[in-house]
């Protein structure tokens, strides 16, 4: 079995912990010196980097949240001057501004190496033809996988998102062997093939690397059956690196976190207490080698469990289970992070919308759909149809530009929504496989 970086991926735990400590201390020194936000947080708690003398001391440090990145929009969290940054990506924020992440030349190299590890772990080699169906753009998914695949010498087809007919044609003609994208898109492809009478068994496809959204074991089985491939999971988030934080080996029993670059903890999302190894809790990650954007104790909001038992593949890196939920209200729709608060903010800005709304999420033909049902006041509701349609279109447009994903808007009569005492039940998620 192939391991991309045998020396580092199979390190003895004792060696790993020494390396982690060194890198943690160096990261803290850099972050404290160069990032005002961290210096302020540390000062408030009366902590200096020198206080961290062991990995266990990590729990004394403050958390970093997505909000910190938003409050320091766009470049406030960078630990290097902008002239050292060779790439900027971003992801959606909880409200208003997106979060911006940057990479130095070395960060991009590290990123490629880490993705090369997860691709190799999934069984991809230089003989593979890798078709990338993530969208190229501000999101990190496509570029990360692209660099990793080039690193191992595979042939990369940078298809980008959508255009399913063409994806299938290229898959047939170019003899794609590895598919990269969201798991739901894999099923869309399967469905389209079935409709067009293409037997997936006639394809050369043999492995899929899926990520960007949570997916279940049932969904994995369905993808594997319908496309006749091995489907592996990988994990990442743009604030930490993008893809390349963790990835499954062919045993598919949890994703190996690349611990020489990221230090994982699990915490109780309510109290912030660190949980003993093996407990279910929120994953918190500290970067150990990132130059442009080091993050210290970043709250991923993903609920998971860390498995420290050695894996059959020989890698000594800890494994994380598939995230089983979120500790906040973030929704992942077509691989895009959406917060109900973003939608609320848009609706509040529109004259005529009432502050009563409901989000209905479903998966129709393996494609996520988002419907925003909103109460409008009578002036709009009783107006002529044409104006009403224009109003809906206007709201849909505003939503799409904020969310980066399309939503259907449905207007409902004033006072027709169920009223809740206490916390409103605003989200109805009908997707079965998530």
């Amino acid at each position: 079995m192939n391991i991309w970086d045998q020396t580092n991926e199979c390190m003895l735990r004792e060696e790993l912990e020494q390396l982690q400590l060194e890198r943690l201390q160096a990261t803290l020194n850099r972050a404290y010196k160069n990032v005002t936000c961290y210096r302020r947080k540390f000062d408030e708690m009366g902590i200096i980097p020198e206080d961290i003398q062991s990995l266990g001391d990590l729990s004394r440090l403050p958390f970093t949240a997505k909000d910190d990145l938003r409050l320091n929009y766009p470049y406030g969290m960078f630990a290097v001057p902008l002239r050292e940054v060779v790439r900027i990506h971003s992801s959606s924020g909880t409200t208003g501004k997106p979060t911006v992440v940057g990479y130095t030349r070395n960060d991009i190299k590290t990123w490629s190496q880490l993705v090369a590890r997860l691709l190799t772990a999934a069984g991809v080699t230089h003989d593979d033809v890798v078709q990338i169906t993530f969208g190229y753009g501000l999101f990190t998914g496509a570029f990360g996988l692209h660099y990793g695949a080039e690193q191992i010498g595979a042939s990369v087809i940078p298809m980008g998102g959508g255009n399913t007919e063409k994806q299938i044609m290229i898959m047939q003609d170019y003899r794609t062997t590895a598919l990269v994208g969201t798991p739901s898109y894999a099923l869309t492809l399967a469905e389209r093939m079935e409709k067009s009478g293409i037997d997936p068994k006639t394809l050369t496809l043999r492995v899929g690397l899926f990520g960007g959204e949570p997916w279940s074991e049932e969904m994995r089985r369905e993808i594997e059956q319908r496309l006749g491939i091995i489907a592996t999971d990988n994990y990442g988030l743009s604030e930490v690196m993008g893809p390349g934080v963790a990835g499954e080996c062919i045993h598919r029993c949890g994703m190996h976190i690349f611990e020489d670059h990221f230090l994982p903890e699990t915490i109780d999302p309510e109290t912030g207490e660190v949980l003993p190894p093996g407990s279910i809790g929120e994953l918190v990650l500290t970067t150990l080698t990132k130059e442009a954007l080091p993050v210290i104790r970043y709250r991923t909001r993903d609920i998971t469990r860390l498995i420290y038992e050695p894996c059959r593949c020989g890698r000594t890196m800890v494994r994380m289970e598939k995230p089983r939920g979120r500790s906040d209200d973030m929704l992942i729709i077509k691989g895009v992070n959406v917060f109900p608060s973003q939608i609320e903010e848009v609706l509040f800005q529109v004259e005529g919308c009432e502050p009563h709304y409901q989000l209905v999420i479903d998966r129709v033909n393996n494609v996520d759909t988002l419907e925003v049902q909103v109460e409008v006041n009578e002036t709009i509701f009783f107006d002529e149809m044409k104006k009403q349609r224009a109003f809906v279109e206007m709201v849909e447009k505003k939503l799409a530009s904020t969310l980066n994903v399309g939503a259907r808007v449905k207007l409902v009569e004033p006072a027709s929504m169920p009223r809740h005492e206490g916390k409103a039940q605003r989200v109805i998620d009908r997707r079965k496989n998530v």
Binding site: Q18, L21, N29, E50, E291
Partner: protein, 249 residues
């Protein structure tokens, strides 16, 4: 397994906190380099390891044994030799006497002349120029030859770990090349492990496997030497590439 493991050491010169929570490691047969500006703590790290300036807190493990409370001679005995900054050869003594003094502990252990003699021959093989000048007083040697002598003297103790402090200081580029070639040979042929402090950061990073960047007594980066050579912050601060070059490239 790491040969040397240093965890959060703190070293002081009187009230001056010279090393702040420094952690680092070395694997057997590896060359690591410490780079940083003057006063960043590079030499202090070497002096802390050799107990010339003992640490005030933290731990140093050498092949699994804690050595941070041991005396300098005990540390040499365990297999760590330091080549001090500015060579510090015994100028009124001959080259060969200088070398033999490097084996002082081995004489005391009664290892026997033949063994020590064969070490001496090895040193002369590494540095043929020292053989030519074996009867000459060390003070009459050129800077480069004195540096070879200082390295040779340290090697006479048969160290597993060699601490090298600014071996290129004040030497002509050709001589530096010669000395660095010998360091590479030591590692390749004898499996010696080397911790190298250099102001010539570029040459050091080309020779080393890994590097630590120090700033005001703290480690701010740990990376492979190749990555550090590419790091623009390092390029600007320590590799002498000026702003203009970086801006206009």
């Amino acid at each position: 397994m790491e040969m040397l493991k240093v965890r959060h050491i703190n070293t002081y010169y009187g009230q001056v906190h010279a090393l702040k929570n420094v952690s680092l490691h070395l694997k057997q047969g590896e060359i690591a380099t410490l780079i940083g500006a003057n006063g960043a703590g590079k030499t202090t790290i070497l002096n802390s390891l050799s107990a010339v300036t003992p640490v005030r807190s933290g731990e140093i493990l050498f092949e699994g044994t804690a050595i941070h409370a041991l005396s300098p001679e005990k540390i040499v005995d365990m297999g760590i030799s330091q080549v001090p900054e500015g060579r510090q050869v015994f100028k009124p003594l001959t080259v060969e006497d200088n070398l033999e003094l490097g084996a002082y502990l081995r004489y005391r252990r009664r290892e026997g002349r033949t063994k020590i003699r064969s070490s001496l021959d090895e040193i002369y093989q590494l540095f043929p120029r020292l053989l030519e000048r074996r009867r000459q007083l060390a003070g009459t040697l050129s800077g480069g030859e004195q540096q070879m002598l200082a390295i040779g003297r340290a090697l006479m103790a048969r160290p597993k770990l060699l601490l090298l402090d600014e071996p290129s200081m004040g030497l002509a580029p050709l001589v530096v090349q010669e000395i660095f070639a010998v360091i590479a040979e030591l590692v390749r042929e004898h499996g010696t492990t080397v911790l190298l402090v250099e102001q010539n950061a570029k040459a050091a990073l080309k020779l080393a496997d890994r590097g630590y960047v120090l700033e005001t007594g703290k480690v701010i980066l740990e990376e492979s030497a190749a990555e550090l050579l590419e790091n623009r912050e390092v390029q600007r601060a320590y590799l002498g590439k000026d702003k203009k070059e970086i801006w206009e490239r």
